[in-house]
Symmetry: D3
Subunit: 247 residues, 6 copies
């Protein structure tokens, strides 16, 4: 069984994270999963949403956007249409939840970290690349305001990957756009450094899937996540030791 | 271990489906999961979205809304705010995908079935109640245009239920609002009559969850879904025999 | 002369008000005028619009919406279109004005009562049913904050009914949808328990109407209003004695 | 009893209509009711709304706007707020209905007459001035496309005036802004040249009003309308003879 | 060489400014450039945009709108389309910048002057007429709050004019609509009483233009501006002496 | 006189254009002016705006957007605010006009070239970088549909640069953000390969500027444009010979 780009069923595309990609935000990376390229930036704002005012807790929220020219067929700019699509809303909420799951919002204090994921080129897996890259930008941003006598607000690593089922039932890891378009089942898995699930979203629009098929996909996902978190650690260098450490 | 409303951990709330609840749409039900009440209506429109024109295939799309007075604290009307929230978008897309998964869109022909899920009272589980009730309204609507010499376009049953993990790790079935607000993990599971998964969405915003915990939740979900589909069959009476039958 | 549903010209449809229809709002009813069904809810909010801040006076405002599946032909959801139609605006303003006309806004104090009228099924007369039902929900809501040593802020009863002229000049009471679609003249009349007018809106788009015809319609309206207010009193039971009473 | 500007209770402000006020539209006037000034324009468009396509009938629709600087306190521009207020919607619908009531839409043929009422200065009565002036612009516009062997599509005159009740119960004709702000009851009356009602809208938000008070207001309104229609005839000159005439 | 309306190449249309055109705003004029007619109003508001709060400085902002019936072909009302066009945005920003360039915002103090330019009839040059007229309305408005012991916040005169190149290369002053539609190059020039440029915007969409052609246009513009500022001085009468004077 | 980054007054920042930066659009570049980085993409669509249907002519339109994290202080995403700012509108229109000025729209045929300029990093001059880079993407896109027996639709080169006046009156070329924020006068100049002006936009919000100062700025602009067009030619290589050539 050979995939469209020659990979093994449990082989990821080449992943590359370039730290400090932008000049202005507190943290920023360019993350590449093969041809998929996303700029992830983390900006710290000294305010919180109204439901948190006075609580002493912080917040993390995310925005996601496809550049119009990032997709095979140009996609209309959401600012020109005057509204954000349901798909964008769904992805933004997923990124925000995933990152919040590894943050100690009390330790963060009353500030908001705004995550921007802007997709430069979309070849499948943009939401999982966004989460994986945004985590690194987030650690960089948090480090700029870290007080060494307080706990570091990032409690654990988090990364995301897609898995799926081909029409013949083969489970594969890290789908590119062509595979994604033809898959029977599509699943996004987000896990922590400790190997637990933050989010599992499996969809069988093409056909339902069995418990056994789900397990096969989850195993591939675990392998992929492990590789991604190892790479995040490589990339973060010294900062790795802060994640999850008490003062 | 007793739950806030005295149920066992794997016990559902009382479910009730009232068919033909409205006068005008082709199919409509009121579905109640305890205090949660949703009107689900299915309207047949003789047109398809532009990406299907000329394809011979039909489509199913869904809209979801909370009445402002359905929630503990009044929630602002989306029509007055001029835009639909991310949460609403997410639920609408989920309902649409779930129902499409059991429909033979070719057999449906070039028409759209518009599903409206309007929540009258929200006490947890409104999206799963919406899917479970909308399926019945959908069968009723399809029956009005069914040609006995053609395959019935509904291929299988589909129902949805929520499961979750309490903070102490206990897994529970069919969370009410109070339980949902306090749960560590929340998972929505959508399954067919054949026992396969259409959609699994688990979120551990409060804390990540292990594979073992996920399995415990999935088992409770399977039990709940089985009960729901049995009840759908009761409610549909004669129409049950059409679902999934060839001409 | 027999009407489409066999009623006499001055005969109303069966009216039914179910109090405490919803669990969460301070006051709520389901009101039915024949097949027309509206959920009316009253929520108390401890804030006022900016033009009343510091004035010591309260406010009542109303929102109205048709469920998409409430009408003969499905009507598009206003939240999805991103704006509220002129018809909805007009009805919302009418409901708000009508209820404010019988409320002592000073006695209410600096709080807003938010009225939500959500039409479940629309068979003519949804705006008049909304006003008539919302009044009962309003009294229930006000009673929850009533201080017996202060005047009860509801000064009088208020109810609304539609009247119209058939093409042959016959005036009729309480038009159903089919009659409304065919009427030459349509008039909505809103009156207090004391028998005075709060609002009169007559429209002769099909043909103009004479003073004599207007008088014939107003007489039928007065009869209908009297019956509605008698019924409101039945339904409110003990609370009737509070309306209009000083401490 | 003397009014704020010294008028008798049944005395109108000075009314002035300037025909052909603008260069481009098919018909246009400036109408002045004292300090109230409205530009009314009628534009003929060779298309109809979709619900009339192929019907052979025409349509009349109206838009209304206050210049930001037309009111005592500047009112925010609706284009900048991105939405039209409920009040504007209500007035636009009223103007459209009123003019359609005197037009033979079949004789008009499949075209739309677009009425624009732009208020330059607002001192009370802008909606009634709009209707009264727009009628003249409409006749001028229709005359440009009138075929002498076909019936003239304008069947009758139409004009509008406001009446009201002061707090002491005195009924007055043609309220200026200061009177309107202080009135207990406000009523807009629209009548045809034959003396019939097209629209009656009375509102007693300040206090309810009796049948006797309504009659007193209607009598003053009839006097005012008579004067307005006489003046419309003066202004239209030769065109008067076309209104309501068969070929 | 004769222009469509018989003017010389460096001849302006007849310009007329009517001061105090409206009753309510602090300053208002009707300005006419031939058939182009614009109402310019200046309203003083005792607040500033958030970026100026506490700065002691004021602000001037402008809004511009075409009446739907002001143009050869009716232009759709921006409030009904729910958004403001790019052209409108561009003109509003230009008017605001131009007026701010001659105002001492510190001397104005923490208040905003809101400029409204509403085009009644559009025959070319509406943006330049707006600036030229708004300046006069602005001086009138500022005079109402002027404290004689403080510097008058208007430092200099400002006026605007259009120039252009015909297809044959002839440069002309003050283009009417027909000329504007056929011009090869269009340039708007805004200058102060001292003869300096506030804004130069030249556009050669039809064909590029040379430095020599630009100079020819600028010379005509200077002549036009000189005439406009002379006329502004005539119109302002006594107020002229305040402009640019220290206390 | 030394500038903040050590450049001479007539020295540009380092400019770099990377062709074929994206995988999917017909033409795309990354253009850098120092720290300013813009992705410019050109997509060909086989349709024209309605005003050109059947005309045989094509169109070029442009959209511009700042990534939220591209600026010193994060700028809110226009899609989330639901509307496009005046500044964005102004820039989009400028880019579109500038590129159309060198295109033979008849030779292009009935198709639209959609230009997307997405600013990755903003350090001054984003609109001029957008135009200069978009021209190269446009040539690449046009080349993909070029028929050698027809004229090449790109008639000439076009590039854009900013110039300005410091507070002391010194004129400088190619302002970075810090210079732009402090400049007294800001001017954008767009010129063709033949040395003519396509657009000149000078703004003296801080203080008006004289004819002599304008000439000084224009001379620096001409020098900058010459360098940019030389560089565009280098970058385009073989394609240079097509620009402006007949078949």
């Amino acid at each position: 069984m050979i995939r469209v780009d020659g990979r093994q069923v449990d082989e990821m595309r080449k992943v590359k994270i370039t730290r400090n990609y932008l000049k202005y935000p507190a943290g920023s990376v360019l993350i590449e999963f093969g041809n998929t390229k996303v700029i992830c930036a983390a900006t710290i704002e000294e305010r919180v949403p109204s439901f948190l005012k006075g609580s002493g807790e912080g917040w993390i929220t995310a925005e996601y956007s496809l550049l119009p020219s990032s997709t095979q067929t140009r996609n209309a700019r959401e600012s020109m249409r005057g509204k954000v699509s349901g798909r964008t809303h769904e992805i933004q909420r997923l990124i925000g939840r995933s990152l919040r799951s590894v943050i100690d919002l009390k330790a963060l204090g009353e500030r908001t970290i705004m995550i921007d994921c802007d997709v430069i080129q979309a070849d499948g897996g943009t939401r999982t690349a966004s989460i994986t890259g945004a985590f690194v930008a987030l650690v960089d941003a948090v480090a700029t305001i870290y007080h060494p006598e307080k706990p570091f607000p990032v409690k654990d690593f988090v990364a995301a990957i897609s898995v799926g089922l081909l029409k013949d039932g083969t489970s594969i890891l890290d789908l590119c756009y062509e595979e994604d378009s033809n898959a029977a089942v599509d699943m996004n898995v987000i896990m922590t450094g400790e190997g637990n699930f933050v989010e599992v979203q499996g969809t069988g629009e093409e056909r339902p899937f069995s418990r056994i098929e789900m397990n096969a996909m989850l195993e591939k996902a675990e392998k992929g996540i492990q590789e991604l978190i190892d790479y995040q650690k490589d990339v973060l260098g010294q900062l790795v030791w802060k994640v999850g450490r008490e003062p």
